[in-house]
């Protein structure tokens, strides 16, 4: 079984889609390539599908100009051995119970009874998995998860009671937008808008594990919602500007650790230093700050001022603590 196989390739997929149609035409072929192909596929693929000197022979030109497939039936959508073994591996993942009832799991188990899993959980070890994560086998958690997922799909308005990060009890009406999973925390959250008087009052995020009650109001939120507007409402107004020095391989370490951020970096060829602009969710500012501080003096937060001042305050407080309590500080510091 091979992951990198033409069986799953874009060209095979486009051909399968067109063969499913039975009869097609040149325009439809080009549209299918635009939608399903790579950026340049339109330069390479039409001549392979449309009868001519280079074609694969999968279509025949009819008298009326249309294209007719040479095959008798639509190609079956086969689940390959690789795909089955992937599903089998997922059966051992506790998170699958969030999506499927026991009888559905049993049915999948039955279908995959002769399949060897693609991998086993014990072949992997997450070295920095937090000790706490969402309770994936807790019936109440599962029930809440499913209600939220259903509401994401049909935009129903929910009344939710939950405990905030600051331990406050909050209750209100919300429209669910999308689910978010954090591998770092092994937790699910939901992006939402809080509603007051049926109108959007605030953008928010609720940890599924902190939900105490969920009630479907039976109403549906019908206004159009754009995820771009949601994300931009939470995005920092100016990026964090970070000077990254080459000391201790900091450039590579920094770039890898912040690879998931939208960013822009400029390298100074004289010093090898990089100046990196990072855009982030303002609600994650503390998380960003502590991550930046963990790099020590090999990076420097240049701006914005608020972020730099927070770094300065924490470092100042740190020096005071060491001066007061740690004998080694006076002896061993430079």
């Amino acid at each position: 079984m091979n992951i990198f196989s033409e069986l799953y390739g874009a060209y095979f997929r486009i051909a399968a889609k067109l063969l499913t149609l039975g009869t097609t035409d040149d325009k439809t072929v080009r549209e299918a390539i635009f939608r399903g192909g790579f950026r340049d596929s339109i330069l390479f693929l039409p001549q392979k599908l449309i009868p001519g000197s280079e074609d694969w022979g999968l279509f025949r030109r009819e008298k009326d100009g249309s294209l007719r497939r040479v095959t008798k039936n639509a190609p079956p959508r086969i689940l390959t051995g690789l795909q089955k073994s992937w599903l089998k591996a997922k059966l051992s993942d506790p998170r699958i119970r969030l999506f499927m009832e026991e009888d559905a799991l049993a049915e999948l188990e039955r279908r995959l009874s002769g399949t060897v899993p693609l991998y086993r959980q014990e072949q992997f070890r997450t070295t920095d998995r937090p000790t706490e994560h969402d309770p994936y086998s807790d019936p109440e958690y599962i029930a809440n998860f499913r209600k939220i997922l259903r509401a994401v799909k049909d935009r129903s308005i929910l009344e939710i009671g939950f405990v905030s990060g600051k331990k406050n009890r909050i209750f209100g009406s919300f429209v669910m937008l999308k689910m978010e999973y954090s591998p770092r925390n092994d937790r699910f959250r939901v992006y939402c808008y809080q509603l007051k008087g049926g109108k959007i009052s605030d953008s928010g995020m609720i940890n599924i594990g902190r939900i105490r009650s969920v009630r479907d109001t039976g109403q549906v939120f019908t206004e159009e919602i754009s995820m771009d507007s949601y994300f931009s409402s939470r995005k920092c107004s100016s990026p964090a500007v970070i000077r990254v020095t080459p000391e201790r391989n900091a450039v590579e370490r920094f770039m890898l650790e912040f690879a998931s951020f939208e960013k822009h970096s400029v390298r100074d060829p004289e010093t090898g230093e990089h100046t990196v602009e990072l855009w982030y969710d303002v609600h994650d500012e503390i998380e960003l700050l502590i991550k930046l501080l963990s790099f020590g003096p090999v990076i420097e937060i240049m701006g914005p001022e608020r972020l730099r001042l927070q770094a300065r305050d924490r470092v100042r407080r740190q020096v005071e603590l060491l001066e007061k309590f740690d004998g080694g500080w006076k002896n061993d510091r430079p």
């Binding site: 599903l87 240049m302 300065r312 407080r317």
Partner: protein
Amino acid sequence: MAGFSELIKNFDKTRDYLRDFFIYGSKIRSDFNRKSSRTYDDEKRRAESWIGDYMRYDDSVRGRQVSISVDSGHIPENPLYSAFYSRSFTDNDIRLHFLLLDILSQEERLPLRRIVDLLESEYGFIFEEQTVRNKLREYTDEGIVLAERSGKSLVYSLTKDRADEYLSAVPGLEDAVKFFSEVQSFGVVGNSIMKSLDLKNDLFFIKHNYLMHTLEDLLLPDLLRAIDEHRYITAAVFPGQNSSEKTEREMPLLPMQIFSSAQTGRRYAAGYAPDLRRFVAMRLDNIRSVKVGQVCEDHKRLDESFRKAAARCFGVSFGFSSESAGRSPMRIEFFADPIREYYVIERLQREKRCCTLERTGDHIFTLTADVLDVNEIMHWVKTFIGRIKRVEGGPSSVRQRFYSDIYRMDKMYGGDEDEHIQ
């Protein structure tokens, strides 16, 4: 551009380039000095084809730099899955694929000769028996075709498993596939199921999604096989970015587990390195390819030692035994008000991994780290800057570096002298 193809035989080179675009993002064409400029142009064009929406071009005095800039938590599908969908093939490969599927979906259990005849009589294509036999054998390995013995010869039939039928017969499976297709490992396999059914992930985003690491999934099947069969591998390692090495080198390893970091998305092949005579964790993004080799006769003993050592890894480093031998564990005291600053203690508790945490005073919480490489712990400890009351034990070099770091940071951000605010 003459000679350019969107499709590729393997993506070793592509992985190398994407890493540079993705990670560094500040290199110009001439910085890619390991390869020809033609290779650079082709690889850049492929990257643009897959992730053009997220590529960024900046003109600097040194030249035009290409980078990939995207908040990966805000996109529903890893765009680098496209790399897996770009495998090259021959004209006969695609012809035979659809024709064999068509023939076998109409009739059950056909012998090779009959299939070859049908290809000619029904579709007008003449294939050599050997060509068709090879393709059927390949599809048997892929689980698409079933081969059974009937008398002296084999008869072939199509598997009964259909992706659309699975999803309709198993409630909730579609949502599960949408979710698992975006998380490590092998998310691309789930994505391939969705693509075959024209489905899109419209439900989930993954926070801090380390997109690039999906390309390393290509190495995993061989690594997992070597782990299961207790075999050595030879890893071909990309030349170092910052070292003077210009050519790749080979490194033998007896892999025992895949380590992964939820914090950085990085994955490692962890195991015994016979050349170094110790346990190591090799970054998968540094490995170009893997060759599976001989069975290790001493696996049981090494595996037992590995499990014991891994339980004392704070991250992925096994350290050097000479560094950890005879050292007292590191003890770090943190200062936090358990009522008002409960979140600090909660985070310590949640993230301490194999260390122990105990309350040793009114506002004092002491972490004891008996780990193989204390250097690893200090990166995490510095996320608590402003809370660290005292550092004891462990190697003095580690403590001195910590004090030196704080001292330098104090100078860097220093109070009234701070002139760097933008």
